[in-house]
Protein backbone atom coordinates (compact mmCIF):
# COMPACT_ATOMS: atom_id res chain seq x y z
CA UNK A 1 0.00 0.00 0.00
CA UNK A 2 1.46 3.42 -0.91
CA UNK A 3 2.14 5.58 2.12
CA UNK A 4 0.87 8.66 0.30
CA UNK A 5 -2.66 7.29 0.19
CA UNK A 6 -2.71 6.66 3.89
CA UNK A 7 -1.53 10.14 4.64
CA UNK A 8 -4.20 11.71 2.43
CA UNK A 9 -6.87 9.71 4.13
CA UNK A 10 -5.56 10.66 7.54
CA UNK A 11 -5.78 14.32 6.53
CA UNK A 12 -9.30 13.69 5.38
CA UNK A 13 -10.32 12.36 8.75
CA UNK A 14 -8.84 15.41 10.42
CA UNK A 15 -10.76 17.64 8.06
CA UNK A 16 -13.99 15.81 8.82
CA UNK A 17 -13.36 16.15 12.51
CA UNK A 18 -12.62 19.85 12.19
CA UNK A 19 -15.90 20.55 10.46
CA UNK A 20 -18.40 18.23 12.02
CA UNK A 21 -16.81 15.12 13.36
CA UNK A 22 -18.78 12.90 11.05
CA UNK A 23 -18.88 12.38 7.34
CA UNK A 24 -22.64 12.42 6.98
CA UNK A 25 -23.01 15.83 8.46
CA UNK A 26 -19.99 17.06 6.54
CA UNK A 27 -21.77 16.41 3.28
CA UNK A 28 -24.97 17.96 4.50
CA UNK A 29 -23.17 21.14 5.62
CA UNK A 30 -21.29 21.25 2.37
CA UNK A 31 -24.54 21.04 0.51
CA UNK A 32 -26.47 23.85 2.20
CA UNK A 33 -23.69 26.46 1.87
CA UNK A 34 -24.88 28.64 4.73
CA UNK A 35 -21.81 28.64 6.92
CA UNK A 36 -19.16 31.35 7.27
CA UNK A 37 -15.98 31.69 5.25
CA UNK A 38 -13.62 30.18 7.82
CA UNK A 39 -15.67 27.00 7.94
CA UNK A 40 -16.11 27.13 4.18
CA UNK A 41 -12.32 26.76 3.79
CA UNK A 42 -12.41 23.68 5.94
CA UNK A 43 -15.39 22.45 4.00
CA UNK A 44 -13.49 22.76 0.77
CA UNK A 45 -10.76 20.58 2.21
CA UNK A 46 -13.33 18.13 3.48
CA UNK A 47 -15.08 17.95 0.16
CA UNK A 48 -11.85 17.47 -1.76
CA UNK A 49 -10.66 14.70 0.53
CA UNK A 50 -14.12 13.20 0.74
CA UNK A 51 -14.18 13.04 -3.04
CA UNK A 52 -10.81 11.31 -3.14
CA UNK A 53 -11.87 8.83 -0.50
CA UNK A 54 -15.13 8.08 -2.22
CA UNK A 55 -13.41 7.45 -5.51
CA UNK A 56 -10.80 5.35 -3.78
CA UNK A 57 -13.56 3.31 -2.13
CA UNK A 58 -15.23 2.85 -5.52
CA UNK A 59 -11.94 1.57 -6.92
CA UNK A 60 -11.66 -0.81 -4.00
CA UNK A 61 -15.18 -2.09 -4.67
CA UNK A 62 -14.27 -2.64 -8.33
CA UNK A 63 -11.09 -4.44 -7.41
CA UNK A 64 -12.79 -6.56 -4.73
CA UNK A 65 -15.45 -7.65 -7.20
CA UNK A 66 -12.88 -8.44 -9.93
CA UNK A 67 -14.49 -5.75 -12.06
CA UNK A 68 -17.99 -7.26 -11.85
CA UNK A 69 -18.96 -3.83 -10.52
CA UNK A 70 -16.95 -0.99 -12.05
CA UNK A 71 -15.86 2.01 -10.01
CA UNK A 72 -18.30 4.11 -12.04
CA UNK A 73 -21.18 1.76 -11.27
CA UNK A 74 -20.30 1.77 -7.60
CA UNK A 75 -20.27 5.59 -7.54
CA UNK A 76 -23.59 5.82 -9.35
CA UNK A 77 -25.32 2.94 -7.56
CA UNK A 78 -28.79 3.68 -6.19
CA UNK A 79 -29.40 0.15 -4.98
CA UNK A 80 -27.37 -1.90 -2.49
CA UNK A 81 -24.10 -3.23 -3.93
CA UNK A 82 -25.25 -6.79 -3.18
CA UNK A 83 -28.12 -6.22 -5.61
CA UNK A 84 -25.49 -5.45 -8.27
CA UNK A 85 -23.80 -8.78 -7.64
CA UNK A 86 -21.36 -7.87 -4.84
CA UNK A 87 -20.76 -11.34 -3.41
CA UNK A 88 -19.65 -12.33 0.08
CA UNK A 89 -16.23 -13.15 -1.40
CA UNK A 90 -16.04 -9.61 -2.75
CA UNK A 91 -17.21 -8.28 0.61
CA UNK A 92 -14.39 -10.15 2.34
CA UNK A 93 -11.85 -8.73 -0.10
CA UNK A 94 -13.20 -5.24 0.50
CA UNK A 95 -13.12 -5.67 4.29
CA UNK A 96 -9.55 -6.86 4.08
CA UNK A 97 -8.49 -4.04 1.75
CA UNK A 98 -10.18 -1.39 3.91
CA UNK A 99 -8.67 -2.76 7.11
CA UNK A 100 -5.19 -2.88 5.57
CA UNK A 101 -5.32 0.49 3.87
CA UNK A 102 -6.90 2.49 6.68
CA UNK A 103 -5.44 0.54 9.59
CA UNK A 104 -8.83 -0.03 11.22
CA UNK A 105 -10.91 -2.96 12.36
CA UNK A 106 -14.13 -3.09 10.42
CA UNK A 107 -17.30 -3.43 12.51
CA UNK A 108 -18.91 -6.66 11.35
CA UNK A 109 -21.98 -6.48 13.58
CA UNK A 110 -25.37 -6.66 11.90
CA UNK A 111 -25.51 -2.86 12.14
CA UNK A 112 -21.96 -2.24 10.91
CA UNK A 113 -22.22 -4.54 7.94
CA UNK A 114 -24.69 -2.22 6.23
CA UNK A 115 -21.67 -0.07 5.40
CA UNK A 116 -20.58 -2.72 2.89
CA UNK A 117 -23.66 -2.12 0.83
CA UNK A 118 -23.14 1.41 -0.44
CA UNK A 119 -20.36 3.92 -0.72
CA UNK A 120 -22.07 6.66 1.30
CA UNK A 121 -22.51 4.31 4.22
CA UNK A 122 -18.97 3.04 3.90
CA UNK A 123 -17.57 6.54 3.81
CA UNK A 124 -19.63 7.51 6.88
CA UNK A 125 -18.48 4.35 8.61
CA UNK A 126 -14.82 5.13 8.01
CA UNK A 127 -15.24 8.76 9.04
CA UNK A 128 -17.09 7.69 12.18
CA UNK A 129 -14.40 5.28 13.30
CA UNK A 130 -11.85 8.01 13.88
Amino acid sequence: MPEETTRTVDDGRTAHDAVTGDGTTARRVTGDGTTDDAVADDRTTARRVTGVTRERLAEMVASASDGAITAGEALAAEVPLTALGFTSLAQMRLIDAVESEFGIEFDLSSAGIGALDDLDALERHLAGIR
Binding site: P80, I95, D96, E105
Partner: protein, 475 residues
Protein backbone atom coordinates in the same frame (compact mmCIF):
# COMPACT_ATOMS: atom_id res chain seq x y z
CA UNK B 1 11.23 -42.24 -14.20
CA UNK B 2 12.70 -39.24 -12.41
CA UNK B 3 12.59 -35.50 -12.89
CA UNK B 4 15.49 -33.27 -12.00
CA UNK B 5 14.27 -29.83 -11.05
CA UNK B 6 16.14 -26.66 -10.15
CA UNK B 7 14.38 -23.57 -8.85
CA UNK B 8 15.61 -20.20 -7.66
CA UNK B 9 16.29 -20.26 -3.95
CA UNK B 10 16.49 -22.41 -0.87
CA UNK B 11 15.57 -21.32 2.64
CA UNK B 12 13.78 -22.03 5.88
CA UNK B 13 10.94 -20.21 7.61
CA UNK B 14 8.39 -20.87 10.32
CA UNK B 15 5.27 -22.66 9.13
CA UNK B 16 2.58 -20.37 7.75
CA UNK B 17 -0.67 -20.25 9.72
CA UNK B 18 -2.28 -22.51 7.13
CA UNK B 19 0.57 -25.05 7.22
CA UNK B 20 0.51 -25.06 11.01
CA UNK B 21 -3.26 -25.61 11.06
CA UNK B 22 -3.16 -28.59 8.70
CA UNK B 23 -0.11 -30.03 10.45
CA UNK B 24 -1.89 -29.94 13.82
CA UNK B 25 -4.82 -31.72 12.19
CA UNK B 26 -2.59 -34.32 10.53
CA UNK B 27 -0.94 -35.10 13.85
CA UNK B 28 -4.31 -35.53 15.53
CA UNK B 29 -5.58 -37.81 12.75
CA UNK B 30 -2.52 -40.08 12.46
CA UNK B 31 -2.26 -42.93 11.61
CA UNK B 32 -5.26 -42.27 9.34
CA UNK B 33 -3.64 -39.12 7.96
CA UNK B 34 -3.74 -40.35 4.38
CA UNK B 35 -7.29 -38.98 4.71
CA UNK B 36 -5.80 -35.57 3.85
CA UNK B 37 -4.08 -36.66 0.62
CA UNK B 38 -5.92 -35.42 -2.41
CA UNK B 39 -5.24 -35.27 -6.10
CA UNK B 40 -6.16 -34.02 -9.53
CA UNK B 41 -6.10 -35.54 -13.01
CA UNK B 42 -5.18 -33.34 -15.97
CA UNK B 43 -6.24 -34.71 -19.34
CA UNK B 44 -3.51 -33.60 -21.71
CA UNK B 45 -5.06 -30.84 -23.83
CA UNK B 46 -5.47 -31.70 -27.53
CA UNK B 47 -3.12 -28.95 -28.68
CA UNK B 48 -0.32 -30.35 -26.49
CA UNK B 49 -0.59 -33.83 -28.01
CA UNK B 50 1.15 -36.00 -28.87
CA UNK B 51 3.03 -35.58 -25.58
CA UNK B 52 6.09 -37.68 -24.86
CA UNK B 53 6.94 -38.68 -21.28
CA UNK B 54 10.12 -36.59 -21.58
CA UNK B 55 8.17 -33.43 -22.44
CA UNK B 56 5.65 -34.11 -19.69
CA UNK B 57 8.54 -34.48 -17.26
CA UNK B 58 9.98 -31.18 -18.47
CA UNK B 59 6.68 -29.40 -17.76
CA UNK B 60 6.47 -30.98 -14.30
CA UNK B 61 10.04 -29.86 -13.57
CA UNK B 62 9.16 -26.28 -14.53
CA UNK B 63 6.04 -26.51 -12.36
CA UNK B 64 8.03 -27.54 -9.30
CA UNK B 65 10.59 -24.82 -10.02
CA UNK B 66 7.82 -22.18 -10.21
CA UNK B 67 5.89 -23.09 -7.06
CA UNK B 68 8.21 -23.27 -4.08
CA UNK B 69 5.57 -25.07 -2.08
CA UNK B 70 6.07 -28.17 -4.25
CA UNK B 71 9.72 -28.42 -3.17
CA UNK B 72 9.18 -27.54 0.47
CA UNK B 73 9.30 -30.18 3.20
CA UNK B 74 8.96 -30.24 6.91
CA UNK B 75 11.95 -29.78 9.19
CA UNK B 76 12.30 -29.91 12.97
CA UNK B 77 12.58 -32.34 15.85
CA UNK B 78 8.96 -33.45 15.69
CA UNK B 79 9.26 -34.80 12.18
CA UNK B 80 12.41 -36.87 12.72
CA UNK B 81 14.15 -38.18 9.58
CA UNK B 82 13.29 -41.69 8.51
CA UNK B 83 9.96 -41.51 10.21
CA UNK B 84 6.98 -42.46 8.13
CA UNK B 85 3.92 -40.48 9.13
CA UNK B 86 3.51 -38.01 11.95
CA UNK B 87 5.39 -38.31 15.25
CA UNK B 88 4.85 -41.55 17.07
CA UNK B 89 3.99 -39.79 20.33
CA UNK B 90 0.94 -38.36 18.59
CA UNK B 91 0.01 -41.46 16.69
CA UNK B 92 -2.16 -42.70 19.53
CA UNK B 93 -4.32 -39.62 19.11
CA UNK B 94 -4.69 -36.67 21.37
CA UNK B 95 -6.54 -37.59 24.52
CA UNK B 96 -7.00 -33.93 25.25
CA UNK B 97 -9.14 -32.13 22.70
CA UNK B 98 -7.22 -28.90 23.25
CA UNK B 99 -3.60 -28.13 23.72
CA UNK B 100 -1.64 -25.32 25.25
CA UNK B 101 0.50 -23.57 22.69
CA UNK B 102 4.24 -23.64 23.14
CA UNK B 103 6.48 -20.63 22.59
CA UNK B 104 6.43 -19.18 19.09
CA UNK B 105 9.03 -21.18 17.20
CA UNK B 106 11.75 -19.19 15.54
CA UNK B 107 10.31 -15.85 16.64
CA UNK B 108 10.69 -12.92 14.28
CA UNK B 109 14.37 -13.26 13.60
CA UNK B 110 15.34 -16.61 15.06
CA UNK B 111 16.75 -19.59 13.28
CA UNK B 112 13.76 -21.84 12.63
CA UNK B 113 15.96 -24.90 12.83
CA UNK B 114 16.44 -24.19 16.53
CA UNK B 115 12.72 -23.95 17.17
CA UNK B 116 10.81 -26.61 19.05
CA UNK B 117 8.07 -27.06 16.50
CA UNK B 118 8.25 -28.02 12.84
CA UNK B 119 9.26 -25.45 10.23
CA UNK B 120 9.35 -25.30 6.43
CA UNK B 121 12.46 -26.20 4.44
CA UNK B 122 12.60 -25.02 0.83
CA UNK B 123 15.10 -26.77 -1.44
CA UNK B 124 16.45 -25.17 -4.62
CA UNK B 125 16.90 -28.42 -6.51
CA UNK B 126 16.12 -32.09 -6.31
CA UNK B 127 14.87 -35.23 -7.99
CA UNK B 128 11.17 -36.06 -8.10
CA UNK B 129 10.13 -39.64 -8.86
CA UNK B 130 7.38 -40.00 -11.45
CA UNK B 131 5.25 -43.13 -11.77
CA UNK B 132 4.26 -44.23 -15.26
CA UNK B 133 1.31 -46.54 -15.92
CA UNK B 134 -1.36 -47.44 -18.44
CA UNK B 135 -5.05 -47.63 -17.58
CA UNK B 136 -7.64 -45.65 -15.65
CA UNK B 137 -6.28 -42.28 -14.40
CA UNK B 138 -8.68 -42.18 -11.43
CA UNK B 139 -7.50 -45.57 -10.22
CA UNK B 140 -3.92 -44.43 -10.66
CA UNK B 141 -4.72 -41.39 -8.54
CA UNK B 142 -6.19 -43.58 -5.79
CA UNK B 143 -3.03 -45.70 -5.81
CA UNK B 144 -0.78 -42.66 -5.55
CA UNK B 145 -2.90 -41.28 -2.71
CA UNK B 146 -3.14 -44.54 -0.78
CA UNK B 147 -0.36 -43.96 1.74
CA UNK B 148 0.41 -41.06 4.04
CA UNK B 149 3.28 -38.76 3.04
CA UNK B 150 6.60 -38.87 4.79
CA UNK B 151 6.43 -35.18 5.54
CA UNK B 152 10.12 -34.67 6.29
CA UNK B 153 11.71 -36.89 3.66
CA UNK B 154 9.33 -37.03 0.71
CA UNK B 155 8.52 -34.26 -1.79
CA UNK B 156 4.95 -33.07 -1.19
CA UNK B 157 3.89 -33.91 -4.76
CA UNK B 158 3.42 -37.41 -6.19
CA UNK B 159 3.21 -37.34 -9.96
CA UNK B 160 2.11 -40.00 -12.40
CA UNK B 161 1.90 -40.19 -16.18
CA UNK B 162 -0.84 -42.24 -17.81
CA UNK B 163 0.51 -43.51 -21.13
CA UNK B 164 -1.15 -45.08 -24.12
CA UNK B 165 1.17 -46.39 -26.83
CA UNK B 166 4.08 -44.21 -25.72
CA UNK B 167 1.95 -41.06 -25.58
CA UNK B 168 1.01 -39.33 -22.30
CA UNK B 169 -2.78 -38.94 -22.12
CA UNK B 170 -3.21 -37.82 -18.51
CA UNK B 171 -1.04 -36.37 -15.78
CA UNK B 172 -2.00 -37.40 -12.25
CA UNK B 173 -0.96 -35.27 -9.28
CA UNK B 174 -1.39 -36.17 -5.62
CA UNK B 175 -0.71 -33.45 -3.07
CA UNK B 176 0.45 -33.50 0.47
CA UNK B 177 -2.01 -31.18 2.21
CA UNK B 178 0.90 -29.20 3.67
CA UNK B 179 1.77 -28.10 0.13
CA UNK B 180 -1.63 -27.17 -1.26
CA UNK B 181 -5.33 -26.95 -0.59
CA UNK B 182 -8.07 -27.40 -3.19
CA UNK B 183 -7.75 -23.90 -4.62
CA UNK B 184 -3.96 -24.13 -4.62
CA UNK B 185 -4.24 -27.37 -6.59
CA UNK B 186 -6.38 -25.55 -9.15
CA UNK B 187 -3.57 -23.01 -9.61
CA UNK B 188 -1.12 -25.90 -10.11
CA UNK B 189 -3.36 -27.49 -12.71
CA UNK B 190 -3.85 -24.21 -14.57
CA UNK B 191 -0.09 -23.59 -14.66
CA UNK B 192 0.70 -27.16 -15.74
CA UNK B 193 -1.77 -26.79 -18.58
CA UNK B 194 -0.08 -23.55 -19.68
CA UNK B 195 3.36 -25.18 -19.45
CA UNK B 196 2.18 -27.99 -21.70
CA UNK B 197 0.56 -25.64 -24.21
CA UNK B 198 3.00 -22.71 -24.24
CA UNK B 199 6.08 -23.90 -22.43
CA UNK B 200 5.82 -21.08 -19.89
CA UNK B 201 3.40 -19.32 -17.54
CA UNK B 202 2.91 -15.60 -18.20
CA UNK B 203 2.71 -12.97 -15.49
CA UNK B 204 4.65 -12.23 -12.32
CA UNK B 205 5.91 -15.06 -10.10
CA UNK B 206 3.22 -16.26 -7.70
CA UNK B 207 3.27 -15.53 -3.95
CA UNK B 208 5.34 -18.12 -2.09
CA UNK B 209 4.77 -19.67 1.35
CA UNK B 210 8.22 -18.65 2.60
CA UNK B 211 7.38 -14.96 2.08
CA UNK B 212 3.88 -15.44 3.44
CA UNK B 213 5.30 -16.94 6.65
CA UNK B 214 7.62 -13.98 7.07
CA UNK B 215 4.77 -11.48 6.51
CA UNK B 216 2.60 -13.31 9.03
CA UNK B 217 5.34 -12.85 11.64
CA UNK B 218 5.62 -9.10 10.86
CA UNK B 219 3.75 -6.28 12.60
CA UNK B 220 1.15 -6.12 9.81
CA UNK B 221 0.60 -9.87 10.03
CA UNK B 222 0.28 -9.78 13.80
CA UNK B 223 -2.37 -7.01 13.49
CA UNK B 224 -4.45 -9.20 11.18
CA UNK B 225 -3.97 -12.13 13.55
CA UNK B 226 -5.04 -9.98 16.49
CA UNK B 227 -8.37 -9.04 14.90
CA UNK B 228 -9.09 -12.68 14.16
CA UNK B 229 -8.06 -13.80 17.64
CA UNK B 230 -10.45 -11.26 19.19
CA UNK B 231 -13.40 -13.02 17.59
CA UNK B 232 -12.39 -16.47 18.84
CA UNK B 233 -11.77 -15.11 22.32
CA UNK B 234 -15.14 -13.37 22.58
CA UNK B 235 -17.22 -16.22 21.16
CA UNK B 236 -15.47 -19.07 22.97
CA UNK B 237 -16.65 -17.52 26.21
CA UNK B 238 -20.33 -17.95 25.30
CA UNK B 239 -20.87 -20.77 22.78
CA UNK B 240 -21.80 -24.29 23.92
CA UNK B 241 -18.46 -25.90 24.88
CA UNK B 242 -19.16 -28.56 22.29
CA UNK B 243 -22.04 -29.11 19.89
CA UNK B 244 -22.15 -32.91 20.12
CA UNK B 245 -21.32 -33.68 23.73
CA UNK B 246 -23.88 -36.30 24.64
CA UNK B 247 -22.77 -39.90 23.99
CA UNK B 248 -25.40 -41.85 22.08
CA UNK B 249 -26.23 -45.47 22.78
CA UNK B 250 -25.91 -47.27 19.48
CA UNK B 251 -22.49 -46.55 18.01
CA UNK B 252 -21.60 -48.23 14.72
CA UNK B 253 -18.47 -50.23 13.98
CA UNK B 254 -16.16 -48.66 12.95
CA UNK B 255 -17.37 -45.52 14.74
CA UNK B 256 -16.85 -42.97 11.94
CA UNK B 257 -19.34 -43.06 9.06
CA UNK B 258 -20.14 -40.80 6.17
CA UNK B 259 -23.61 -40.35 4.72
CA UNK B 260 -24.04 -38.37 1.53
CA UNK B 261 -27.19 -36.93 0.06
CA UNK B 262 -27.23 -35.82 -3.58
CA UNK B 263 -30.22 -33.62 -4.20
CA UNK B 264 -31.20 -31.47 -7.13
CA UNK B 265 -34.14 -30.20 -5.11
CA UNK B 266 -31.81 -28.90 -2.42
CA UNK B 267 -29.61 -27.25 -5.07
CA UNK B 268 -32.57 -25.45 -6.67
CA UNK B 269 -33.96 -24.46 -3.27
CA UNK B 270 -30.67 -23.09 -1.90
CA UNK B 271 -30.08 -21.10 -5.08
CA UNK B 272 -33.57 -19.68 -4.99
CA UNK B 273 -33.30 -18.62 -1.34
CA UNK B 274 -29.92 -17.02 -2.09
CA UNK B 275 -31.33 -15.06 -5.04
CA UNK B 276 -34.43 -13.89 -3.20
CA UNK B 277 -32.48 -12.75 -0.13
CA UNK B 278 -29.32 -11.40 -1.85
CA UNK B 279 -27.17 -13.93 -0.04
CA UNK B 280 -24.66 -16.50 -1.25
CA UNK B 281 -25.75 -20.13 -1.38
CA UNK B 282 -22.90 -20.83 1.01
CA UNK B 283 -24.44 -18.54 3.62
CA UNK B 284 -27.86 -20.09 3.01
CA UNK B 285 -26.40 -23.55 3.60
CA UNK B 286 -24.47 -22.43 6.70
CA UNK B 287 -27.64 -20.97 8.18
CA UNK B 288 -29.74 -24.05 7.40
CA UNK B 289 -27.03 -26.44 8.58
CA UNK B 290 -26.76 -24.51 11.85
CA UNK B 291 -30.52 -24.51 12.36
CA UNK B 292 -30.55 -28.28 11.89
CA UNK B 293 -27.68 -28.74 14.35
CA UNK B 294 -29.81 -26.81 16.83
CA UNK B 295 -32.74 -29.09 16.02
CA UNK B 296 -30.81 -32.31 16.67
CA UNK B 297 -28.85 -31.10 19.71
CA UNK B 298 -31.26 -28.69 21.38
CA UNK B 299 -28.59 -25.98 21.67
CA UNK B 300 -29.84 -22.39 21.37
CA UNK B 301 -26.55 -21.21 19.87
CA UNK B 302 -24.76 -23.02 17.08
CA UNK B 303 -20.98 -22.80 16.79
CA UNK B 304 -19.68 -24.24 13.55
CA UNK B 305 -16.20 -24.16 12.03
CA UNK B 306 -16.38 -23.44 8.30
CA UNK B 307 -13.20 -24.19 6.34
CA UNK B 308 -12.36 -20.88 4.69
CA UNK B 309 -10.16 -20.50 1.61
CA UNK B 310 -8.38 -17.39 2.94
CA UNK B 311 -7.67 -16.16 -0.57
CA UNK B 312 -9.10 -12.71 -0.09
CA UNK B 313 -5.78 -10.88 -0.24
CA UNK B 314 -3.43 -10.03 -3.10
CA UNK B 315 -0.62 -11.93 -1.42
CA UNK B 316 -2.63 -15.13 -1.18
CA UNK B 317 -5.00 -15.26 -4.13
CA UNK B 318 -2.81 -17.28 -6.53
CA UNK B 319 -0.53 -18.95 -4.03
CA UNK B 320 0.09 -22.67 -4.16
CA UNK B 321 0.08 -23.50 -0.47
CA UNK B 322 -2.43 -24.48 2.16
CA UNK B 323 -4.31 -21.36 3.10
CA UNK B 324 -7.60 -22.94 4.14
CA UNK B 325 -8.26 -22.70 7.83
CA UNK B 326 -11.24 -22.97 10.11
CA UNK B 327 -13.18 -19.86 10.97
CA UNK B 328 -15.67 -19.60 13.81
CA UNK B 329 -19.29 -19.20 12.73
CA UNK B 330 -21.67 -18.49 15.58
CA UNK B 331 -25.40 -18.15 15.12
CA UNK B 332 -28.02 -17.53 17.78
CA UNK B 333 -30.94 -19.82 17.04
CA UNK B 334 -33.93 -17.89 18.28
CA UNK B 335 -36.52 -20.27 16.86
CA UNK B 336 -37.99 -17.47 14.77
CA UNK B 337 -38.54 -17.38 11.00
CA UNK B 338 -35.76 -18.86 8.90
CA UNK B 339 -35.44 -15.61 6.94
CA UNK B 340 -34.51 -13.79 10.16
CA UNK B 341 -31.88 -16.42 10.85
CA UNK B 342 -30.54 -15.96 7.32
CA UNK B 343 -30.36 -12.20 7.84
CA UNK B 344 -28.20 -12.73 10.91
CA UNK B 345 -26.13 -15.38 9.13
CA UNK B 346 -24.74 -12.84 6.61
CA UNK B 347 -22.64 -10.79 9.04
CA UNK B 348 -21.95 -13.91 11.14
CA UNK B 349 -20.44 -15.54 8.05
CA UNK B 350 -18.23 -12.51 7.35
CA UNK B 351 -17.02 -12.53 10.97
CA UNK B 352 -16.28 -16.23 10.59
CA UNK B 353 -14.36 -15.69 7.33
CA UNK B 354 -12.26 -12.94 8.88
CA UNK B 355 -11.53 -15.11 11.92
CA UNK B 356 -10.27 -17.89 9.66
CA UNK B 357 -7.06 -16.05 8.76
CA UNK B 358 -5.57 -16.55 12.21
CA UNK B 359 -2.44 -17.86 13.86
CA UNK B 360 -3.26 -21.34 15.23
CA UNK B 361 -0.97 -20.62 18.18
CA UNK B 362 -3.26 -17.74 19.20
CA UNK B 363 -6.27 -19.98 18.81
CA UNK B 364 -4.68 -22.75 20.89
CA UNK B 365 -3.88 -20.27 23.63
CA UNK B 366 -7.35 -18.70 23.65
CA UNK B 367 -9.00 -22.11 23.56
CA UNK B 368 -6.95 -23.25 26.54
CA UNK B 369 -7.84 -20.04 28.42
CA UNK B 370 -11.56 -20.34 27.66
CA UNK B 371 -11.51 -24.02 28.61
CA UNK B 372 -9.81 -23.23 31.90
CA UNK B 373 -12.22 -20.39 32.70
CA UNK B 374 -15.26 -22.49 31.90
CA UNK B 375 -13.92 -25.63 33.54
CA UNK B 376 -14.57 -27.74 30.46
CA UNK B 377 -12.82 -28.16 27.09
CA UNK B 378 -14.20 -25.75 24.49
CA UNK B 379 -14.30 -27.16 20.96
CA UNK B 380 -17.38 -27.20 18.72
CA UNK B 381 -16.39 -30.48 16.96
CA UNK B 382 -18.72 -29.33 14.23
CA UNK B 383 -17.28 -28.23 10.88
CA UNK B 384 -18.47 -27.18 7.45
CA UNK B 385 -16.55 -27.33 4.19
CA UNK B 386 -18.07 -25.89 1.03
CA UNK B 387 -15.86 -27.29 -1.74
CA UNK B 388 -17.82 -25.82 -4.65
CA UNK B 389 -16.13 -23.31 -6.93
CA UNK B 390 -19.20 -21.49 -8.20
CA UNK B 391 -22.08 -19.85 -6.40
CA UNK B 392 -25.06 -19.32 -8.67
CA UNK B 393 -28.15 -17.81 -7.03
CA UNK B 394 -31.22 -18.27 -9.22
CA UNK B 395 -34.76 -17.30 -8.33
CA UNK B 396 -36.42 -18.89 -11.35
CA UNK B 397 -37.28 -22.49 -10.30
CA UNK B 398 -40.94 -22.93 -9.37
CA UNK B 399 -42.21 -24.89 -6.41
CA UNK B 400 -43.61 -27.73 -8.53
CA UNK B 401 -40.26 -28.24 -10.23
CA UNK B 402 -38.39 -28.33 -6.94
CA UNK B 403 -40.86 -30.75 -5.36
CA UNK B 404 -40.68 -33.02 -8.41
CA UNK B 405 -36.90 -33.09 -8.08
CA UNK B 406 -37.23 -34.51 -4.55
CA UNK B 407 -38.02 -37.88 -6.12
CA UNK B 408 -34.45 -38.08 -7.46
CA UNK B 409 -32.72 -37.49 -4.13
CA UNK B 410 -30.23 -40.25 -3.32
CA UNK B 411 -28.60 -41.11 0.00
CA UNK B 412 -25.52 -43.32 0.27
CA UNK B 413 -22.88 -44.36 2.84
CA UNK B 414 -19.60 -43.94 0.95
CA UNK B 415 -17.05 -44.11 3.78
CA UNK B 416 -16.34 -45.58 7.19
CA UNK B 417 -13.20 -45.48 9.30
CA UNK B 418 -11.80 -45.78 12.79
CA UNK B 419 -10.78 -42.25 13.67
CA UNK B 420 -11.50 -38.61 12.95
CA UNK B 421 -10.50 -35.54 14.92
CA UNK B 422 -14.03 -34.14 14.70
CA UNK B 423 -17.51 -35.39 15.47
CA UNK B 424 -19.59 -33.73 12.80
CA UNK B 425 -18.15 -32.69 9.40
CA UNK B 426 -20.32 -31.40 6.57
CA UNK B 427 -18.91 -31.30 3.04
CA UNK B 428 -20.75 -29.51 0.25
CA UNK B 429 -19.93 -30.43 -3.35
CA UNK B 430 -21.37 -30.06 -6.83
CA UNK B 431 -22.34 -33.52 -8.02
CA UNK B 432 -23.71 -34.53 -11.44
CA UNK B 433 -27.09 -35.31 -9.81
CA UNK B 434 -27.35 -32.07 -7.83
CA UNK B 435 -25.99 -30.57 -4.64
CA UNK B 436 -23.95 -33.08 -2.63
CA UNK B 437 -23.96 -32.72 1.13
CA UNK B 438 -22.04 -35.33 3.04
CA UNK B 439 -22.01 -35.74 6.78
CA UNK B 440 -19.03 -37.54 8.29
CA UNK B 441 -19.91 -38.14 11.91
CA UNK B 442 -18.79 -39.96 15.00
CA UNK B 443 -21.68 -42.36 15.57
CA UNK B 444 -20.85 -42.44 19.29
CA UNK B 445 -22.37 -38.94 19.38
CA UNK B 446 -24.71 -39.02 16.40
CA UNK B 447 -25.92 -42.51 15.40
CA UNK B 448 -26.49 -43.44 11.79
CA UNK B 449 -30.31 -43.01 11.80
CA UNK B 450 -29.84 -39.50 13.23
CA UNK B 451 -27.28 -38.71 10.52
CA UNK B 452 -29.78 -39.70 7.89
CA UNK B 453 -32.53 -37.66 9.54
CA UNK B 454 -30.18 -34.68 9.67
CA UNK B 455 -29.47 -34.70 5.93
CA UNK B 456 -33.08 -35.26 4.91
CA UNK B 457 -34.17 -32.60 7.41
CA UNK B 458 -31.71 -30.14 5.87
CA UNK B 459 -33.15 -30.80 2.44
CA UNK B 460 -36.69 -30.42 3.64
CA UNK B 461 -35.94 -27.17 5.54
CA UNK B 462 -34.39 -25.63 2.41
CA UNK B 463 -37.19 -26.76 0.09
CA UNK B 464 -39.81 -25.33 2.46
CA UNK B 465 -37.90 -22.08 3.03
CA UNK B 466 -37.53 -21.54 -0.71
CA UNK B 467 -41.25 -20.87 -1.10
CA UNK B 468 -42.64 -19.73 2.24
CA UNK B 469 -41.47 -18.23 5.47
CA UNK B 470 -40.91 -21.18 7.74
CA UNK B 471 -39.93 -21.30 11.37
CA UNK B 472 -36.59 -22.74 12.30
CA UNK B 473 -36.90 -26.46 12.95
CA UNK B 474 -37.11 -27.63 16.55
CA UNK B 475 -35.77 -31.05 17.44
Amino acid sequence: MEIRFAGGRAGTAPLTWGQRAIWDTIVKTAPDDRYFNFGRVLAVPGRARPLTPARAAGALGALVARHESLRTRLGGDETGPGRSGPPSHAAGGSAEPYRTAGPHPAGEHGDPSRAAGPYQVLEAAGVLPVAVAAGDPDRFLDELAATAFDYAAEWPLRAGLVVDGGEVTHIVLVFCHLAADGLGAEVVLRDLRLLLLRGSVPGPPPPQPLDLARWQESGAGRRVAGIAAGHWEQEYRRVPPTMFGRPAGDAADPPIWRAQIVSRAMDLAARRIAAVHSASTSTVLLAAASAMVGAVTGHGVCAMLPIVGNRFRGDTVNAVTTLSQEGLFVLDLDRGPFTELLRAAGPAALRAYRSAYHDPRDRDRLTAEASRERGTPVHPYCCFNDLRFADRPDASPGEAEVRRALADTALSWPLRQERLNCRFCLHVTDEPGGLGVSLTADTRFLPRPAMERYLLGLESLLVEAAFRDVLEPVG
